[in-house]
Amino acid sequence: MTDYQKPIPAIQPWTREFWNATKQGKLLIQKCQDCHSMIFFPKKVCPECWSDNLCWQEASGKAQVYTYTTQMDMVEPKFRADLPYVIAMVDLEEGIRMTTRIVNCNPEDVTIGMNVHVVFEDISPECSLPMFQPADETLRRLPPCIDECESLATRSGSPVSPDTYETIIYDIGGKNGAVCTITLNRPSKYNAINYRMAAELIDAFRRVRDESSVGVVVLTGAGEKAFCTGGDLEIFPSLCEHKSSLNWLSHEGLDVQRAISGCEKVVICKINGHCLAGGLELALSCDLIYARESAMMGATEINMGLLPGWGGTARLPRSMPIFRAREIIFSGRKDYPAKDMYDMGLLTRVFKDDEFEEQVETVVKNIASKKPEALRMGKEIMARSVDGCDIETALSVERNGIQWLTYAPDVQKMMEGFRQKPSDLLARQKETNLRSDNK
């Protein structure tokens, strides 16, 4: 309810009682006690006689469909997840016509003249929306169970694509489009993760897989305060419910991790400020982690009696000696300096603040200049290897992966020249080694 992203009614002082009643499941109609007019939309004074002697009468909630439409397309992004949906005007028994939605039935079963009953959808602490469902119970379709069926798109408000991203920035650049930068873009909220951001991250990391020019993805945060401080407080009320809480972990959480770790590009995490809780777990899903010296890090979940739930307990001990990982998780500290984290074995490198951008850019530029297929293969081989398989399996995966790369058409084309003149290969290799040694 609290993450309801669609518009809520613009309540006026004289309509507040109507909306308060909807929270108790009552549909009220305004009535003039002087001229006895039934009034809708509710007004400050009676539109017939200008009397302010107005009262409220509870409606039966029974109505007939006057007209309706099934909305199929061309709606605001915040309504897209609802499509198709039925908008209708219904005539209440009391003689009032109102606009509503017809719910809990197949759109094709709705007809003009259909008898309907009011039901309420709870959308905010202030009001519920009066919707209508068929009076004929045989036409009713069970309402979707919010906890079980609510899709990510529904929760996040609308389908996601780079054109509609609201919480991240997706930018492909670098030489030959080899670098995709994904920026968490809620700087005023310390780039905290909400449902929308989770959906957008999943979309972005799945999308970038298909960008053939891209070899490296850089994940960073907008602004100077934070890389990411974890789950936004706005999602917490939804975690009060058992299944909803589990879904946040198993749907959004797991999907974000999988989208990053499985995106088949080298993902470089660029920690430019606070990196806490879920933010640390985002970093742990990446392949390389570079941090600014002033960045503060930690896993704070234990302070609420919880544990990291987006892969923290699984990935942290796999990323550093376990006795150090335990301290990070058990202490709940949020003030580990980046340098300490590096000393404990977590980070790839830490750079001085004033050199951070330049140094990371050099790293990114270098890796992005490598062949994307080789980077992808390397990422996968190493991922399987550290997953805990036996050494023979790991070596087999390595061997076959490299063989696949060797027989790629472009590599073979290059090899063809050397087949003709093996001495060329030797000369070329010698020259490369000398150049490297002299650097």
């Binding site: 669609k6 518009p7 809520i8 009614p9 613009a10 309540i11 006026q12 309509t15 002087d34 809708f40 939309f41 004074v45 006689c49 200008w50 009397s51 302010d52 002697n53 006057y66 007209t67 309706y68 439409t69 099934t70 909305q71 199929m72 397309d73 061309m74 709606v75 605001e76 992004p77 309504f79 609802d82 949906y85 908008i87 209708a88 005007m89 016509r97 109102m98 606009t99 509503t100 939605r101 003009i112 959308i123 929306l129 919707m131």
Partner: protein, 420 residues
Amino acid sequence: MPWNCQGTTWHGLLSVHLTAVAEEKGDAMSKKNLAIIGVGEVPTGTYPDRSPWDIIYESCIAAVRDAGIHKNDVEGVIAVAPQAQNQLAGEISFGKIPEELGLNGCRDVCTCNAGGASTSNCLRLAEQYIESGLAKIVLIPHVTVHSTIPVPDLINFFAKAGIDLQWEYPFGNTYNSIIAMMTRRYMHDSGTTDEEMASIVVSLRKWAALDPNSIFYKKKVPSVEEVLSSGMVSSPLHKRECNVLGDGGGAMIVTSAEIAKKMGKPAAYKRGESARYFSAFTTTRNNDEFVNGFRDSTREALDDAGITKDDIDIWNTYLAYPVCHPIFMEAVGLCEPGQAGKMFMNGDTWPGGKMPWSTIGDAVGRGHTGSGVSMATYIETARQLMGKAGEKQVPDVKYVFQNTSGGSGMNFIATVWGRE
């Protein structure tokens, strides 16, 4: 009851008083003193590279030249407020047009906003400027450039335009959905078929294909089947039954009937007018009042002009979506109830038909330029009466009926225009 001033008694007294005043003055409403003597247009299209001011220049200069006057003859500028373009609206409201165009004879300027009914109100205001002696010649311009409005702003504007933020918007209502509901009910009550509804689009697009100022000029006219096979937007409304947003602009030069007559050039003379207000929102609109309002205001405008509906040569209607065309046709008695769809289907309303109808193709055919379609419709009315309508010229036009309507159908302004 602090505001109850025994309204019925006062209302009664006021009515008696106003009636007496009207009788004393004679039927003042019938004394129209306005003529359109020049028009200019920038074709409806997509011009992200053109500034609104570029379009204003072109259409206004064309209108002044068409009228055969000097720019400094313009003594008043009454502009249609550009919808959804706040910056431009501010600039125009604060008098930039006379300054930009160097209208050195201009004595006053204002902006008028009644949505799609703005142009009608600009014309009414122009009558007052002229009647009061403030101006002899008035320029009425309009411009809309939708293509450079940021998409979120456009969505935001059109999602809420004419839709109540408390009682309609939260349910996911859109402009298309309110029209779709109206269409569904009309089809249910009248027995009009999907094919007949689609044939309204066909008729409008046939006119548009002849109109050099339409986005569909010389474009293939879709068949009924092609209209019905376009994607469903909001049942029963298909994509081709909705409007395409466009950029464009238009301008008119108006003056008094006497001056127009003295100038001795073809002009369009305002002959009659009436109007009805219904409601701001479709939920609260009484269908009977709506249909009767079409009928009564049209009859009053015809009476005002001293003619009957049989004298009208062109029904130049601006009704934005297809559905109100048959509703209007039936309300006014131009066909039997429930038969309007057949009129559109069998060609009565097409170019060359016995009842030329909406000869720029309304918003469906022209492309939607915000409140600019009403301007385009007035320009077409003038062109038809001046004999300047090109390929779509209806022969021997003496009288044109034209209406406008604003918001989500909040009102209906009926006007009658004549060649003399």
